[in-house]
Amino acid sequence: MEVELCPILRSFGSEQNVLSRPDGSASFVQGDTSVLAGVYGPAEVKVSKEIYDRATLEVVIQPKVGLPSVRERAREQCIRETCEAALLSTLHPRSSLTLILQVVHDDGSLLACYLNAACMALIDAGLPMSSLFCGITCAINTEGQIITDPSVQQEKESRALLTFAIDSVERKVMMSSTKGSFSVKELQQCIAVSQKASEEIFQFYRDSVKRRYSKIM
């Protein structure tokens, strides 16, 4: 049985260096979903959080309404460990890195948008990384169709939702977070779709960096 694919990425865009105070900042927009990210560091670290051979990374997610809850805490963990794997934090031992993510609007694929905004902000902050990463969300709807970059409405209608972080070097899965149940085949298809879609986003990263430094080079 061949599964129908609906591999469309909504229009997306990003602006770097949007805020004056943080050492690196970026906004990332996917369709109507929009996230603002700010990075501080490397800077002085609290003794209680100090790690002797690498930088301590803290990720904070700020919801738009109310206080962060357990769900945000779990997502912070996912994003932090993804960033940690990409960052060469051993180059800044005993220092602190702080990444703050602010939701501006949620219209689906929020976790993916967090990851993309985080990556752009880390690039803007000029932190050394071993690879870049991007986030892709796939929704499987009741007909078994795979939809990339779903909107809130599409997320609601789906029976499973999978978000992956893909690395830029080997296009492997760095992070995975899923909701709903799905078959092994669907999983592998979603991974393959995400890997393909990641090409677009990595190309976008490259283009935006090229554009940014076009006057210098």
Partner: protein
């Protein structure tokens, strides 16, 4: 709007099904103990050391349905540097009732009852521990009550003292605990939860109360004494004596458990 953002929350309000019982039904039947055990008998207890692999010392104690687990960490450097008395160590206690341990579900956030129990536990254990041997350090005692079927303070004291011994903390003596429930002229040693709350809160009789004693068995010294309710002085004195007898009955079990733990840690050399 103080809300617990660090836990998953359910509905704002929920009630225990026990509140919806038809009025004539009773859940807590004050048992008469007929045939099962005498009024002055403690429940059979089961004690064992060293189950928490990560802890310096630990103990698990079961008395009837009351189930208590305790682990001990330390001695380690004290966190409170401003403490005036640095010449001797400090005992710290984190006492928790698991949310499912009581008939009514408890909250995760430590309540007054738990704080009170931890203060009482420290007061009872302190005389038994050679704290002067641990200057500038703290010893952490963590107690979790998995099931509360009465006499938790007394059993927590016993359990914690076994755990302390298992952790190799120097002690003058183990500390044993025993609770008694006074109901008019009868007294029930080591009461279950039903006996503990029983008709005391419902009735208006005289001489109602609960006494918990912590004892250092080898010195025959009382290291902790807590009583509430309403009792005559002579009843109280008698109750303390009965509790002390109850404590002595536990001693062989505790001894046995510790002996085992020691044997396991240092097996007798085969010559």
């Amino acid at each position: 709007m103080p809300t617990d953002t660090k836990r998953l929350r359910g509905p704002e309000e929920s009630q225990s099904p026990m509140l919806f019982l038809p009025p004539d039904a009773q859940i807590l039947k004050a048992s008469s103990r007929d045939g099962s055990r005498g009024h002055a008998d403690v429940r059979p207890i089961f004690a064992r050391c060293g189950l928490v692999s990560q802890a310096k010392g630990s103990a698990y104690l079961e008395a009837g349905n009351t189930k208590i687990i305790c682990s001990v960490y330390g001695p380690r450097e004290t966190e409170r540097k401003d403490e005036t008395d640095m010449k001797s160590g400090r005992l710290l206690c984190d006492f928790r009732l698991a949310p499912f341990s009581c008939l009514k579900r408890g909250a995760w956030i430590q309540g007054n009852e738990e704080r009170d129990l931890s203060v009482a536990l420290i007061e009872s254990l302190q005389p038994g521990v050679c704290l002067h041997r641990y200057p500038r350090s703290q010893i952490e005692i963590n107690v979790v009550v998995l099931e509360n079927d009465g006499s938790i303070l007394a059993h927590a004291v016993t359990c914690a003292s076994i755990a302390l011994a298992d952790a190799g903390i120097e002690m003058y003596d183990v500390v044993l605990g025993c609770t008694l429930r006074q109901d008019g002229d009868t007294c029930l040693v080591d009461p279950t939860f039903a006996e503990e709350s029983g008709n005391w809160l419902g009735g208006y009789g005289e001489n109602q109360g609960r006494v918990t004693v912590a004892l250092l068995p080898n010195f025959n010294q009382v290291s902790g004494l807590h009583a509430d309710g309403e009792m005559r002085e002579d009843t109280l004195t008698e109750a303390v004596r009965t509790c002390m007898d109850g404590c002595h009955k536990l001693y062989p079990v505790v001894q046995h458990a510790l002996l085992r733990a020691v044997k396991r840690k240092a097996p007798p050399s085969v010559k």
